[in-house]
Symmetry: C2
Subunit: 286 residues, 2 copies
């Protein structure tokens, strides 16, 4: 497709993990020259071997050549960028990020840079780190942006066009609505799934634990999957999306109460009614 | 393999749904003559078309020819067998079942039949009904038996040998431990997953609901899968495994409390510790 608002050929990517590395691979294929930044020289070496960018450096100053920069760091680091990084970013460059919670990122970055666009490409694999990047990671996946009144419309359009050329589905949302939504469909599931694993872990009867382990099947594996994921990711979503998650957990607890009430009152027709609704909800939602 | 305790050639299967139909297909292949019983003539017709058994009838009296009988009905019907069925079973036949909760089944069937063996083949697909039966459903899947002091050892050995010839993994357990274990790894996940769907369903902000729906991905799909399953199955597990599920839900609530406490106290190091443990638990358990 023709790009209406094309950045110059040089694009910077800060962080070459799953998201940053995948961006590097796809954007090179689209004809851009990629300047990749890693924290450690050892990682830079591996990124060069994997050809995640044409230029890989541990020194952010190479970003001076770039008119579009992706901050593809973990959430905590997006929220606490080094001054070396801030100072290296040209004032007229478009800067965007990949963090999963947008309100705190906008609060930080609107002050740091005039042409910041808050992005959340929603994709992933179980992999992370410099070996995780892969081609076509963004294809047919949502690329959510959360502009606010300070967002530069031209900058937004540049991020838009590139995300389309990566094959993403562009979705624009209020920042607060975005954070509530990811709290509901991504962060809440992590906690309720982890609580299931914690329940198993603290089961005190050894014979019960052993049998449960030998007969657990796909239902348990699916329900516990996201709760067994990266603990640092779990902590950072809880920390930076705390208020939304607290609200969703309160709603979840209310739903759980309904099930417990049915069990205590042996109200099987009410339980049936709820389960008919949840079955229908999943068919609608997924 | 050579069967040490072989039943005669005639095997009865009461109910030709997913489990009963699959048993019919595999057991015919092993050389047995199968007498299948369905409730309605229309289902019998379909079962004949699908060749789920050589003889398909709605009249249980054909079971008089069988020395081994599988009761492959839904849990509620296993617990409330018709007198026509009970009267048709030869007193010296081995009878086994496929229900997912064993204590109430033993309480019922130990009184009804002298050679009853309580079984729980742990396998399944999303399908059900007369069109669901398939070959090799039991291969490499647990076949749990829960003998008690009234169990006839020869009858148990016959069920054992056939389950091995179906390719199942034979697991013997105390009935109470079995019911606690399925409560933990199968019934509890259904309720916590359904509660997630109920939380979504009762979300009151339309813009949040719409965005959540458009960005929900595999994490949400996996965590909500079993909660969106067959409502009748959910009700029957709750009804007949009530006490165990109540106990597990109480433990689960305690685990959820720990996560909420971390959020309210902003205790991120404690949250990290719990999530490191749940990550490890899943790696051990699955």
């Amino acid at each position: 497709m023709e790009l209406k608002a094309k950045p110059s050929k040089n694009i910077g990517i800060v962080g070459l993990g799953l998201i940053g590395g995948s961006l590097g691979l796809d954007l090179q294929k689209l004809g851009y020259t990629i300047y990749g930044i890693t924290h450690r020289e050892k990682t830079a070496q591996k990124a060069r071997e994997r050809k995640l960018a044409q230029i890989v450096s541990t020194n952010p100053s190479v970003l001076k050549n770039c008119s579009l920069i992706y901050i593809a760091l973990p959430l905590e680091q997006i929220l606490n960028p080094s001054s070396a990084l801030i100072n290296a970013i040209p004032r007229d460059a478009v800067v965007t990020d990949v963090g999963s919670v947008k309100v705190p990122i906008l609060n930080t970055w609107n002050k740091l840079h005039p042409r910041f666009v808050a992005s959340h490409p929603m994709t992933g694999t179980e992999e992370s780190g410099v070996s995780a990047g892969q081609h076509n990671l963004f294809k047919n996946k949502p690329w959510v942006v959360t502009p606010n009144k300070e967002t530069d419309q031209k900058a937004l359009e540049i991020v838009h066009q590139i995300s389309l050329s990566l094959g993403s589905q562009w979705i624009s949302s209020e920042p607060q609505t975005h954070d509530e939504a990811v709290g509901l469909i991504s962060h809440l599931p992590v906690l309720i799934s982890a609580a299931l694993l914690d329940t198993i872990r603290t089961e005190v009867k050894p014979s019960l634990y052993a049998l449960a382990k030998s007969i657990s099947s796909s239902g348990f594996a699916d329900t516990s999957r996201v709760g067994g994921g990266n603990p640092d990711l779990g902590v950072s979503m809880a920390k930076f999306n705390k208020e939304n998650i607290k609200r969703h957990l309160a709603s979840y607890r209310h739903s759980l109460d309904l099930f417990e009430k049915c069990l205590h009152e042996e109200d099987w027709s009410e339980l049936k009614k709820i389960l008919v609704n949840t079955q229908e909800e999943r068919q609608n939602f997924i």
